[in-house]
């Protein structure tokens, strides 16, 4: 019992170490982080202005509702980008710096290592997503009197389990392909969102894409968050989106760990952990 407690304590300290390292990196690259955030805001604006553009072109739409719908899509896109970037690029970055061998030879359980990266990614992603949403909503003067932000945060939190699980699968890509692995992570992010109704209802997609949408956690995340923010849906009303997310998360996390484990074995078999090779 005491041994198990000591082991758990050691793993939690290790998990804190992963978070600590990422905090140091954000602090050391803070100007780059700010520059990247400005780019994210600009990118979000290019999407969100579409609603006003349609109205200016003579279309008849509820501009505020469409703007909010697009903003939620853009914020989730950016959030997912951070989750995948932290999980995928941390491995790639470590490999580039040469620290990956020291991390992988430390007595830290790999699931704990990956959860530590996931915890930081979610924390950092939520902070950025909140800033992004507030800034752009303020720029457009969006009035969201009935928004239920607690429900929205709950849906995002539950969806994050699945996102981290999928992020673990993409994190292994730089181990398998040191040169192109990170880019493959971005492709996974794009595919996930295009089938999930990021800026449009899933109904407009072709049948085969709609089939993929049913297994994408982003579909339920977007639906649930839109219901909560646009229509003030409470926890009971977004439950239809939460339970599929729980099921997908329960599959995605073990699957992500297994994919990473196999990728790590491949890297150790072929000598791909070291910096040059």
């Amino acid at each position: 019992m005491r041994g198990a407690a000591a082991t758990l304590r050691g793993e939690l300290i290790g998990l804190a170490g992963v978070v600590e390292r990422n905090v140091y990196l954000v602090r050391r690259y803070v100007w780059w982080e700010i520059a990247f955030f400005i780019w994210t805001v600009a990118n979000t604006l290019t999407i969100v202005f579409i609603a006003k553009g349609i109205e200016a072109a003579g279309g008849t739409i509820d501009v505020e509702r469409t703007t909010t719908t697009l903003l939620i899509g853009a914020v989730i896109w950016a959030y997912l980008g951070i989750i995948f970037e932290v999980l995928t690029e941390t491995v790639a970055w470590e490999r580039w710096e040469g620290t990956i061998e020291y991390t992988f030879m430390a007595p830290l359980a790999r699931p704990v290592h990956l959860f530590g990266m996931g915890v930081f990614a979610v924390f950092y992603g939520v902070v950025r997503a909140v800033f992004l949403f507030v800034i752009v909503a303020a720029m457009f003067g969006l009035d969201l009197p009935q928004a239920n932000f607690w429900s929205a945060v709950l849906v995002l939190a539950v969806a994050s389990i699945s996102f981290v699980g999928i992020g673990m699968m993409t994190a292994v890509l730089p181990l398998i392909s040191p040169e192109k692995g990170v880019q493959l992570g971005f492709i996974a992010q794009g595919i996930l969102l295009v089938v999930s109704g990021v800026y449009y209802p899933v109904d407009v997609l072709p049948g085969w894409m709609q089939a993929l949408a049913t297994i994408s956690p982003a579909t339920y995340a977007l639906e649930g968050i839109r219901d909560a923010i646009l229509d003030g849906a409470g926890v009971a009303e977004v439950w239809d989106d939460i339970w599929p997310l729980l099921i997908i998360g329960a599959i995605a996390v073990p699957l992500g760990l297994e994919v990473f484990r196999r990728g790590e074995r491949y890297a150790k078999r072929h000598g791909k952990l070291k910096r040059s090779g």
Binding site: G10, R21, L25, F104, M105, A106, P107, L108, R269
Partner: protein
């Protein structure tokens, strides 16, 4: 129980030849040796002889293709986490997050070994001081430090976790003479004070002779000799270790083996 017990260890890498063809290149060809607790064994070898592969296998960073390796009785491949608790490593490249300071790099690395901030806040400056690193510079980014300084921080990182087996893979290569001497003195001190077992891979003959109890010669993935410096000289009828190495391998240490390993 031996500190390290390696038996008939084999490791191969796939090398791409042309678009579709791949050939298997042996990096370790049936290597066997033991290291007793508290002993320092140096492995000499030309570039590509398999030294780094041997260190990586013992550090649980590579999977083998045959044979066995045990560290203090723990199977390196079946029980890697038990091995990781006992081992640390210093390699030819210091390998840090370069924008982060030495203090930050050491702090997060120590957490991976279960050391809390209260454990490390006092210990990091102490260890940095012991390796001859100017403690007042511990907040500076690694990229602002000289290579010799970075290597001292790498030694501090390894020592912070109190390893019982220290794997040193050309720890002084590329250092200026003064830094090299300081690092060598520190390695000797670690061994005497901490009772650490050391496997030192190097192509510095003087370093091997000064620091090691026994010296092995690794050539083309084969450990062709292992003994004290005097035994090796006697075996090959040589006056110096350099002559013994040349007699054993037919090449100088600066040469590259035909079958370059990882």
């Amino acid at each position: 129980m031996s500190a390290v017990e390696v038996t008939n260890l084999r490791k191969e890498f796939l090398r791409r030849e042309g678009r579709f063809r791949r050939t298997r290149v042996p990096a370790l060809r049936g290597v066997s040796f033991t290291i007793e607790r508290g002993e320092c064994v140096a492995v000499l070898g030309a570039n590509g002889s398999g030294k780094s592969t041997l260190v990586r296998v013992l550090a649980t960073l590579l999977l083998h293709d045959g044979g066995s390796a045990r560290v203090f009785g723990h199977d390196v491949f079946a029980d890697p986490r038990a091995v990781r608790r006992l081992v640390n490593r210093v390699s030819v490249e210091a390998s840090f997050f370069k924008k982060m300071s030495s203090n930050e790099n050491l702090s997060y690395a120590a957490r991976f070994y279960g050391l809390t901030p209260s454990d490390t806040s006092a210990r990091i400056p102490q260890i940095l001081e012991r390796v001859g690193f100017p403690v007042e510079r511990r907040g500076e980014a690694m990229e602002a430090l000289s290579r010799g300084m970075q290597q001292k921080v790498a030694l501090a990182r390894a020592l912070l976790t109190a390893p019982v087996l220290l794997l040193l893979d050309e720890p002084t290569t590329g250092l200026d003479p003064r830094s090299k001497l300081e690092v060598q003195q520190f390695i000797a001190e670690v061994r005497s004070v901490h009772d650490a077992t050391i496997l030192l891979c190097t192509h510095d003959l003087d370093e091997a002779e000064v620091l090691a109890d026994r010296i092995g010669i690794l050539d083309d993935g084969r450990l062709i000799a292992l003994g004290t410096a005097d035994e090796l000289k006697a075996r090959y009828g040589a006056e110096t270790l350099e002559e013994a190495f040349f007699a054993a391998t037919g090449r100088a240490l600066g040469d590259v083996s035909e079958e370059e390993g990882s």
